[in-house]
């Protein structure tokens, strides 16, 4: 009798353990995420609604004062506009150039491997090193670009490539595009290589043009790769700090900041950590909305499939 009673309880325990097993497996990741993601997010939200002294001492809750101060500053709105231009320009152009490059690299030609290695080079180099190199290339007094152009006889005196804030920012966008292209190229290339060549053969037999094949075979089939690279790029580029900080630090007159460099300056140069946290929260909300839209679209896509 006692054995009969014991058997089901052991089985029950085993079942319970089995049910709990996935959660035990996930526990390390969950703890890691809590420690590295959730706690900092909560801390930043708390700091954004706190009065913080210049010496970085939290003085107490001050509601939305930091947000009001941030929004009242014209620099913030210029920075927000810059952030949108920066993200759209870098992600847009790098996707376009990366796609074309991937198409080229998908062809069979001599030295393809060497070209592929060269394309990945900017991606394999640290962003700060890239930014420093570009800063020296475009320097008007001793930069490589001016020296090269004058040796080729294309200019007779050195050109100031960064005379205005707009010119500075355009160069920074270019550097952003240059370092982002390899990532897109290899994402798209992996998508292109998974396309069965028989589709193209069949289309060729039917007399389809290059553009027809591009829009009716290539683009629909690399769409998943393109979506992944675009979404990841939006997040990376939006939050990118090294290029702008290394090249201009947001100057001249704070006109080349993006949200990330602006909040860094607010916190560590101007000693306004509360306002910096508020800018950080605003950036987080913008990205969360973008991610939400992406999730909705991709979930709908899955349902449709």
């Amino acid at each position: 009798m006692s054995q009969k009673q014991k058997q089901p309880s052991t089985r029950e325990m085993k079942q319970r353990l089995k049910r709990a097993e996935p959660y035990v497996w996930m526990l390390p990741s969950i703890l890691l995420m809590c420690a590295m993601i959730v706690v900092p997010i909560i801390t930043v939200f708390r700091l954004s609604m706190s009065e913080i002294s210049r010496a970085n001492r939290v003085k107490g809750f001050n509601g939305l004062e930091n947000f009001k101060d941030v929004i009242a500053s014209p620099t913030f709105w210029n920075t927000l506009r810059n952030t949108l231009i920066w993200t759209v320009a870098v992600v847009g152009f790098s996707t376009l150039i990366g796609f074309v490059l991937a198409m080229v690299l998908n062809q069979n030609f001599r030295g393809r491997k060497v070209v592929r290695a060269l394309v990945i080079f900017p991606w394999a180099t640290s962003l700060i090193i890239q930014a420093v190199i570009w800063k020296y290339i475009i320097n008007a007094d001793y930069g490589a670009l001016n020296v090269l152009l004058s040796k080729l006889g294309l200019i007779d005196h050195f050109v100031n490539w960064t005379a205005t804030a707009g010119a500075f920012f355009a160069w920074e966008c270019w550097v952003g595009i240059f370092v982002t292209v390899p990532f897109v190229t290899f994402c798209v290339l992996s998508g292109l290589q998974s396309i069965d060549t028989t589709y193209y053969e069949a289309a060729a037999v039917d007399g389809a043009s290059f553009w027809r094949k591009l829009f009716n075979i290539t683009l629909p089939l690399v769409r998943p790769s393109l979506t992944v690279s675009t979404v990841l790029n939006i997040i990376y580029v939006f939050n990118s700090f090294p290029i702008i900080w290394t090249i201009s630090k947001g100057d001249p007159a704070d006109k080349t900041h993006t949200l990330v460099t602006y909040l860094y300056k607010l916190s560590f140069t101007l000693g306004k950590s509360g306002q910096a946290a508020a800018v950080s929260v605003i950036g987080f909300i913008i990205l969360a909305v973008c991610a939400g839209i992406y999730m909705m679209i991709s979930l709908r896509g899955e349902e449709a499939d």
Binding site: L27, Y142, N160, P252, D254
Partner: protein, 446 residues
């Protein structure tokens, strides 16, 4: 079996993660290398711990301090001294993060202190400065650290700024003497530009976020303006300042200076001068590198008033209140006694003179100033090992006494500093100088 083992490993990982978590709860953002964790001695008569952050003044700063640390600990066996060298690039981030997590050093070497005073984080200097030390500090440097009637910090070293001219380049351009007025600067720049067809930068200008406030001081002070008026009130929008800002803009517009003064800090400008590709610049007294072959002269800053005003820069040492320090010494009196011993040891005539020669900065004590003016050559320069230059210390130490300094002991200084940099950049990008400076004055003075 494999599953159980894997489960066990997962649990071990969880426990390891839990064990890794810090016991203190940070209250501020940012991340920096944590301060050395030191066990707090309980009860009297035990070891006192002193954590010190020293700013990195040169490439060899970190080689001098370990010897100091060892000598100090050999002399005072009951004091555990931890000296940490932090670069100026990271200093503000590190200090700010440490303060927010109550991990501040006992002694900090930095440029300003008003923000720390505002939060009651500092110990008044009278509480740890010995009578002997106070007597040998140059009086103007002692009072320069006064705020609301209390001295909050000690000067660690000073430097002064002067006009450096590459005489080979100027002579080739037909200029025989360093320019004394702004008109002469313009003439010299034009001559250099015309002679070298743009391959030599005539004038080095830095209005970057790094030290743009220095340019504001050089040009406004030498035009009769400045940060404050004769009564000590903020006077950022004076007519003299507007004129000085427009003059800076004219240097850029005429192509007389480096192409990117908004982002070129003093360091690439110094490099260019040392390499002989820039004819003139206003720089720190120790900006010439030992291996430079440039034939240069040091001159007064060009002035419009007839009386050149040199600029002095002075950094400080300050002591944090034990409530925010990482050392957590139980006995505050013993800690302040150790701090006092640290300063007496550091400002010892020979040791302090040796450090000044090593870093190339100017002493702020009378005894070291006198010693170095006569026999700096008994000490060696950091990195090269070359003997110190008696003439350098004699000349610059005397200039230092007549220098003007930033009003950096005022609570508004950080806003003023960033404000004038921002104003300079806006004006040089084409905004109206009077309007920009009026707005800054209204923001600062209310």
């Amino acid at each position: 079996m494999k599953k159980s083992l894997a489960l066990l490993l997962a649990l071990a990982m969880v426990l390891a993660l839990a064990a890794c978590s810090n016991t203190t709860t940070p209250s501020g953002g940012g991340s920096a290398t944590p301060a050395p964790q030191t066990a707090a001695p309980q009860g009297g008569g035990e070891k006192v711990t002193l954590n010190v952050i020293i700013s990195q003044y040169g490439n060899y700063t970190q080689d001098w301090w370990p010897t100091f640390e060892k000598d100090f600990e050999d002399t005072y066996s009951n004091i555990d001294l931890n000296v940490e060298i932090v670069s100026w690039n990271d200093l503000y981030t590190v200090v700010s993060t440490r303060i927010s997590t109550n991990q501040a050093p006992d002694i900090l070497n930095i440029d300003t202190f008003a923000d720390y005073v505002a939060d009651d984080l500092l110990v008044p200097a009278e509480e740890y400065t010995s009578a002997e030390l106070k007597a040998k500090l140059i009086p103007s440097f002692w009072t320069a650290n006064e705020l609301d009637g209390t001295v909050w910090a000690l000067p660690i070293l000073a430097s002064c700024r002067a006009l450096f001219c590459n005489m080979d380049l100027l002579n080739e351009a037909g200029i025989t003497a360093p320019p004394k007025t702004w008109d002469e600067v313009d003439a010299a720049c034009k001559a250099v530009l015309d002679t070298f067809n743009g391959s030599i930068v005539p004038w080095g200008l830095d209005i970057s976020g790094d030290e743009g406030q220095a340019a504001f001081a050089y040009y406004t002070w030498n035009n009769g303006g400045g940060f404050v008026d004769a009564d000590g009130n903020w006077a950022l929008n004076s007519a003299e300042n507007v004129e000085a800002m427009n003059y800076i803009k004219s240097l850029i517009d005429n192509g007389y200076c480096n192409a990117n003064p908004y982002t070129d800090t003093r360091y690439p400008l110094q490099d260019a001068f040392n390499a002989g590709s820039q004819a003139m610049m206003i720089g720190a007294c120790n900006m010439m590198s030992a291996d430079s072959e440039v034939n240069y002269v040091v001159a007064d800053l060009p002035t419009q008033t007839g009386t050149p005003v040199a600029m002095g820069v002075c950094d400080r040492l300050m002591v944090f209140d034990s409530s925010v320090t990482a050392s957590k010494n139980a006995d505050e009196a013993a800690r302040l006694d150790a701090v006092s011993k640290f300063f007496d040891f550091f400002y010892d005539t020979n040791r302090y003179s040796e450090y000044m020669v090593y870093e190339g900065f100017l002493p702020v004590t009378t005894d070291s100033s006198e010693l170095l003016a006569k026999s700096a050559d008994q000490f060696s320069v950091g990195g090269t090992g070359a003997p110190g230059d008696n003439e350098y210390f004699a000349n610059f130490s005397s200039i230092l006494l007549s220098c003007d300094f930033y009003p950096s002991s005022r609570a508004e200084w950080i806003d003023v500093k960033q404000g004038v940099i921002d104003a300079e950049q806006r004006i040089c990008q084409g905004e109206d100088a009077q309007t920009v400076l009026d707005a800054l004055q209204a923001q600062i003075a209310g």
